[in-house]
Symmetry: C2
Subunit: 313 residues, 2 copies
């Protein structure tokens, strides 16, 4: 099944203690669609400026991403300038230049109004809601992401979006901000009472955890010796997660668990290079191999066939 993603395409300028990159292709829709493209057909709806490079468009199309919804508007592409400290835990935004994003109003083409899987990447919740309103059939799965900026600035609009999506993917810090609840389990329950049947909490270098009303699944992140740039890891996770679900057409909980690992696998590749570099040209073998490494990272014999040697037990 195919996936439609609405989000941002950006040029990022990112500094880390060891590197800096001036004009790196970024944005939520970019990372998401690249990661998802390894598993399912993806169509992207986003806006770029007149400065958008032909080679970047060609790269996306080279990954069989449908870019007919990539609108080129007058002005410059959205630009994000940020810096990471030594621990890579949080980016400090130095500058945000909305440029063409300021007037973006996503209009779905007729053929894009019946997606099976829809991902509302991090953009203005009013735009996310407008996209939901343009759908002509109920998708199999609608998932959404957001960020602190909208939680603080557009909480009412965001509440409506959260009430409309089946799955919310969100950073742990942003979940706490959204729910005003320091306890993760209580915060998760709050979100699941607002509409979503599934909540995926992204925890950066600590992995991810998925809550439904009946199930909890947690995975650590892959411990990497080389982390170059964490930008886009969350959107890449979402792309792997949705891509796998769309490819397998199975929303059962055992398959969702595998999708969480696929998301983690793709995110682990994303941070190994600047921008989406490493997400280009991954081989099926490399993806399969890291999936297996996740299994080995987390496997233990817990089937209960071997009872614990508890004294007096």
């Amino acid at each position: 099944m195919s996936i439609l993603v609405i989000g941002t395409v950006a040029y990022d300028a990112v500094s880390t203690p060891e590197h800096n990159q001036r004009q790196s292709l970024g944005g939520s829709a970019t990372f998401f669609s690249l990661a998802a493209s390894y598993f399912a057909p993806v169509s992207v709806v986003a806006v770029v400026g007149e400065d958008f490079r032909g080679e970047d468009l060609a790269m996306l199309q080279g990954h069989q991403i449908d870019t007919r919804g990539l609108v080129r508007a007058r002005g410059k592409t959205f630009r994000w300038v940020a810096e990471y400290g030594a621990d890579f835990n949080e980016a400090q935004t130095l500058d945000t230049q909305l440029n063409v994003l300021a007037d973006f109003n996503p209009i779905l083409a007729p053929e894009a109004r019946t997606p099976s899987f829809l991902f509302l990447a991090n953009i203005d919740p009013d735009l996310q809601q407008s996209v939901i309103g343009q759908l002509q059939a109920k998708p199999r799965l609608v998932a959404g992401d957001t960020m602190n900026f909208w939680i603080q600035g557009k909480s009412e609009s965001l509440s409506k979006v959260i009430g409309s999506v089946g799955t919310l993917l969100i950073n742990e810090g942003e979940l706490r901000m959204l729910t005003r609840e320091p306890n993760l389990v209580k915060g998760a329950r709050q979100v699941l009472q607002q509409g979503p049947r599934m909540l995926v909490v992204k925890r950066g270098e600590y992995g991810a955890i998925c809550f439904t009303r009946e199930d909890v699944f947690a995975t650590p992140a892959y411990p990497l010796e080389t982390v170059v740039d964490p930008t886009g890891a969350g959107d890449t996770f979402a792309g792997g997660f949705m891509g796998y679900l769309a490819a397998t057409e199975d929303l059962g909980i055992e398959n969702v668990r595998r999708a969480m690992i696929v998301g983690s696998v793709m995110a682990s590749f994303a941070v190994e290079s600047f921008g989406p570099e490493r997400l280009q040209g991954l081989t099926p073998q490399a993806i399969q191999q890291r999936y297996h490494e996740f299994w080995r990272l987390t496997y233990f014999d817990g089937t209960g066939q071997r009872p614990l040697p508890i004294r007096g037990g």
Copy 2:
């Protein structure tokens, strides 16, 4: 096989946003030995003051903990006063009164000099080294813990201890402080080059990760709706971990993985109450049940019998 632990016994005064407890039994040796006692015979070497309550001694003995090495000295028991914020991530120490701990010099009784498993809980590294020097036979496993105070104040003594232990258990933040390396994998490799064959990094609410030269195993922590007091979670983890290894007498990597989960299980109980309350009177069923819940929390089908549906793959 039996375990010998050298550490502290304390009275803690802990405040959290919702509770405060004035005189709670604490200390690294207390949490460790209670957790380990569910799996293997434990002997504790520590010092207490004249104010040490008979009921606390009786409680430890009620868990079949050998307290012959619990020296009662003139003066008051070691006292720690601390406060947690809403997120429970780190305690702020408000006051430390060493009291009898100031002059503590652990002397092993002749029958305590040949332990199979030895845990050097967080105390002055010079005392840890002195204990190692008193051994009359090489234990199956010597594990040690430490804290920021010794990393900053006694780094040379601590280096010697780290060179002498087979396993180092340490908090993630303290590993970074010790190695001056923000990257976890690189920091782990540094430690494994200094002597230990195994490094267990405790990550609080994010779980724990174990490095050997050949293997990495990571587990998330159990997502708890009620966290009352995180004090002692790390020592409790160590107690479950060592207790399970001592009971099974198997230091193979698959068994170490199970021990990591048993440590996590015991730590998840510890934080559900003030001090070591919840660690008293656990049933074998409760322990076995939570072990199974960890399995369910982290299980996914990753055996590779079902290849990923990668496009073009």
